[in-house]
Amino acid sequence: NAGVTQTPKFRVLKTGQSMTLLCAQDMNHEYMYWYRQDPGMGLRLIHYSVGEGTTAKGEVPDGYNVSRLKKQNFLLGLESAAPSQTSVYFCASSYRNGDLRLNTEAFFGQGTRLTVV
């Protein structure tokens, strides 16, 4: 059981380039999340999904797009990378525990360290 797998683990981009970060989970979780982590800022929610085909904005969605075409995958896209997007990106997934408003523990991927120069 791989859990949550993020691809790639490291990447250096030039300003203006585009890229897609892939998050894959094999636990049949309904909820999936993308966070960015910057020093002193904690984990900030970029976008999230409560099910296949649905996505919603988090706290810091500008400059990012997401898609959840398959339940097990959640893609994060940067259309035109900027130095301000230099960060560590974490994907997480969670199971919906019956009550639609509750989820259980979130499982995190190992993170993607992205540098935009």
């Binding site: 904690g42 929610l45 706290e59 969670s94 408003r101 523990e105 499982f107 995190f108 190992q110």
Partner: protein, 111 residues
């Protein structure tokens, strides 16, 4: 809106106790607590549901006051392995699945 954590950092000697607080400006449905070691992913500690339940993990416990929209994490008789950054995550009653985290509390336990 991110929940607010305090303090930002705490230094402990082995065996000492500490309390980390988490508060929200919105009504809470549940509170998650995670610990992150340097260079690693956050790891789940516990979930607290509305109703004031207390949960425990080793000598780490937590409480949840839904009326005050607050949660506290208690580190009792701290061990060196407790060092790391602790995050609270919240689900509010007006959201569905939107798990948001605070800025974290860095805990350093010294011998």
């Amino acid at each position: 809106q991110q929940p607010v954590q305090s303090p930002q950092a705490v230094i402990l000697r082995e065996g000492e106790d500490a309390v980390i607080n988490c508060s929200s400006s919105k009504a809470l449905y549940s509170v998650h607590w995670y610990r992150q070691k340097h260079g690693e992913a956050p790891v789940f500690l516990m979930i607290l549901l509305k109703g004031g339940e207390q949960k425990g993990h080793e000598k780490i416990s937590a409480s949840f006051n839904e009326k005050k929209q607050q949660s506290s994490l208690y580190l009792t008789a701290s061990q060196l392995s407790y060092s790391g950054t602790y995050f609270c995550g919240t689900l509010t009653t007006d959201s569905w699945g939107k798990l948001q985290f605070g800025a974290g509390t860095q805990v350093v336990v010294t011998p």
